[in-house]
């Protein structure tokens, strides 16, 4: 089967799907092939990847002690 060739517009349109690992293997490979050859799209992909990672870092936060105690108390009553 011939692997589809993608242009920049097609790659950028699917960049989030690609970074979210929501594409099938064939489409992912087609995008990766383009990224190997296109510096601009590669830069765009790296930018979006780093932006998503920054947002993802917000996940790390401690549970307030009061909430911890409140939920444990709740669970003890079940």
């Amino acid at each position: 089967m011939t692997r589809p060739t993608l242009d920049c517009e097609q790659v950028i349109a699917q960049i989030f799907d690609y970074l979210d690992h929501e594409l099938d293997a064939e489409r992912s490979e087609a995008i990766e092939q383009h990224l190997h050859q296109c510096k601009s799209c590669f830069s765009r992909k790296e930018f979006e990847r780093r932006m998503l990672a920054k947002v993802g870092d917000l996940r790390r936060e401690a549970v307030p002690d009061a909430l911890n105690e409140r939920i444990r108390g709740l669970l003890r009553r079940f």
Binding site: F16, L52, V55, G56, N68, I71
Partner: protein, 219 residues
Amino acid sequence: MAVSRDFFESQVLDLLGCLHGVARRLTCHDADAEDLVAETVERAWRARDTLHSQEAFRSWIFRILNNTFISERRRQAARPQTESLDCEEDGDEAEFSIFEQLHQPFLLWFSTPEQAFVDGLLRADLERALARLPEAHRMIVVLSDLEELNYAEIADLLGIPIGTVRSRLARARCKLQKILWQQARAYGLKAAQPGEDAAEHPGRTRALQAQPEDHGGGS
């Protein structure tokens, strides 16, 4: 399936940080977030017979949290709902990209303004921008980019098609970037123009401490 108390407790305590994080970003109010988590845990216990498998616990309880949040919002007669939970079609936010604002191809082999912008983002900048997203956008960004649910899980949790998840998430991320861009510009960031020294415009944002009200804040 039968859910043992021990299993339920261990799962809840394991996920408590995630539940709290999602609740806090949905409500944008610390006390409401704690109430939402507590209410979610109670409802989940009462509805434990609806859990189909142990592996589904995480998405199952997130769905309960989401539904609890929506129910509570509609019930609060004292706090008028100022925005719809449905997404409206955005205008230019749908395709906004900080990369497009800052990228200069001739700088590919040197420091790039767009990468400097990301590197300069502080936690406070992101928290503020996230809080300013409309609820439906904020919800999907939190579920995908913070809690790392996949499209199918989000679709199931929100009761929307996967295609809608894909398009709504893309719009939400673009809108988030636009808000970050507006915040940065409010603090004097200028995009480097051709001929200007890019080092003079490092793309760094500052944490918004005592910032002026600019575009109307989030909830």
